[in-house]
């Protein structure tokens, strides 16, 4: 194993551990809970990694983040993994060909992804069953999830950015 590969393995192992740690923080009952709503921190992690490490790595880490979310979610196992994987590819490709890699775009992508994911969830959990008054209930859930997620996004982007910069420096040596 050459030096560059060794640093890559270390880098991605640290990223995976960070994802796992953030998942634990995100799912712990009563922790990071604001008026009964919890942020989806792994969405910000997936978007950050996809922006910094490009589409392939972003997609694989997205699938990992989604599988972690599936452990607690009231959806069939694999649903979140697919959604997060698609998010990783899309954000990675957008940053590669259309937009810049910066905090503002990271916040926008995270917000769009969280709202989109909540809407798809709404469709499968309530929309197709036509429960009365579900729209307003879900609107509150979307805002309750998206706002704290967006608030934490700069911190997460900074964290993964610092990790990326540190290892890029080593890889170039």
């Amino acid at each position: 194993m050459n030096k560059k590969m060794r640093y890559s393995v270390m880098h991605y192992t640290l990223c995976a551990l960070l994802f796992f740690f953030i998942y634990i923080l995100q799912s712990t009952p009563g922790f990071l809970e604001f008026w009964g709503y919890k942020p989806l921190l792994l969405a910000a992690c997936t978007v950050s990694v996809a922006m910094l490490e490009q589409e392939y790595t972003g997609a694989l880490f997205g699938a990992f983040a989604g599988m972690l979310c599936d452990l607690n979610a009231n959806t069939y196992f694999g649903f979140n993994a697919i959604m997060f994987l698609l998010c990783g590819v899309t954000v990675g490709l957008l940053c590669e060909y259309l937009t810049q890699r910066n905090l503002r775009n990271c916040v926008i992508f995270t917000a769009v992804f969280v709202v989109g994911l909540c809407l798809v969830n709404y469709f499968f959990q309530f929309g197709i069953y036509n429960y009365p008054d579900a729209g307003f209930y879900w609107l509150k859930r979307i805002l309750g999830t998206a706002l704290p997620t967006v608030a934490f996004t700069p911190l997460i982007y900074w964290l993964f950015g610092a990790l990326h910069q540190r290892f890029e420096k080593y890889k170039e040596l």
Partner: protein, 286 residues
């Protein structure tokens, strides 16, 4: 961008996508049993989540007790330092204390319902998108838990197990619109169906439908499981909650009652899974 779609990496991602799709289809097919990948991840994550949940509970207790102590601390500085010391010990002993409380409560419930086989469990995870207070517990198929097992707390009925992994399970609550529980008003013996309602669930309440217009159900009545939900999901006599108001259905044909669940659904830390009871899984006609 076309380069990416023609690359090997894109084909690998497509294969991963198909694999995840297969996981999902399998989860739908088996209806309640997690796929192997979920069980493996769960087996790794559950102990850490349990630890994190205990620390979170400990810290929560620490801060709530500190707030209370700060009121008295104005009068007595010494007492406050003692409380702080005790709180530090409390965090360390949180794990043992919780286990002890679970077992004591279980013994109490077991004495009341000798016919029930129960497994004590801790709440270790709540989803960002937690549907009607649903949560994850630290017991799974390894501990004898199966899909559709009833879940209770010291106070009363909580819900049922919706999905089981090796060392964790997901629980949906009685606030969920998809769960129906056969119930009876304990005073007038009027039967109905307890289910969730989107508006009421936000206030931690649920409703009992199909009450007869002539029924004498009234605010303050205790509602318990009837044991006759047609699917043998719940044993008879579990406390569901108390009626807070009775109103006419929009059709005017029957009444419905708003129920305050006995169990604090959004604040639960410890629950019990009923793994076996007389009549479990017996459908009508059997």
């Amino acid at each position: 961008m076309q380069e990416f779609f023609h690359s090997t990496k894109a084909k690998v991602l497509l294969a991963v996508l198909v694999l995840l799709g297969a996981f999902m289809l399998r989860a739908i097919w088996t209806g309640g049993f997690s796929p192997m990948m979920s069980q493996l991840l769960g087996a790794v994550a559950s102990p850490v989540q349990q630890l994190s949940s205990n620390v979170s509970n400990g810290v929560g207790d620490f801060f709530s007790q500190f707030t209370q102590a700060s009121k008295t601390a104005k009068e007595n500085e010494e007492l406050r330092s003692q409380v702080a010391e005790l709180n530090q010990q409390l965090v360390e002993l949180e794990d043992l204390r919780q286990e002890n409380r679970r077992l004591e409560a279980m013994l109490g419930i077991q004495e009341e319902h000798e016919e029930l086989d129960m497994v004590p469990a801790g709440v270790i995870g709540r989803d960002y998108n937690s549907r009607f207070g649903s949560f994850t517990i630290d017991k799974g198929s390894h501990h004898g838990v199966e899909p559709r097992d009833p879940v209770i707390s010291e106070e009363g009925l909580v819900g049922i197990v919706s999905e089981v992994g090796l060392t964790h399970s997901k629980v949906i609550t009685i606030l969920d619109v998809s769960l129906n529980v056969g119930a009876v008003d304990n005073r007038v013996r009027e039967t109905g169906i307890v289910t969730g309602n989107i508006d009421l669930a936000q206030q931690g309440l649920c409703m009992m439908n199909y009450l007869d217009r002539e029924s004498g159900a009234f605010a303050g009545d205790l509602v318990i499981t009837s044991g006759s939900d047609g699917e043998g999901l719940f044993p008879e006599g579990l406390v569901i909650g108390t009626i807070t108001e009775v109103q006419a259905e929009s059709s005017g044909l029957s009444l419905y009652a708003v129920i305050q669940p006995a169990a604090p659904i959004y604040e639960l830390r410890d629950v019990y899974v009923i793994t076996d009871f007389l009549g479990q899984g017996e459908t009508l006609g059997q």
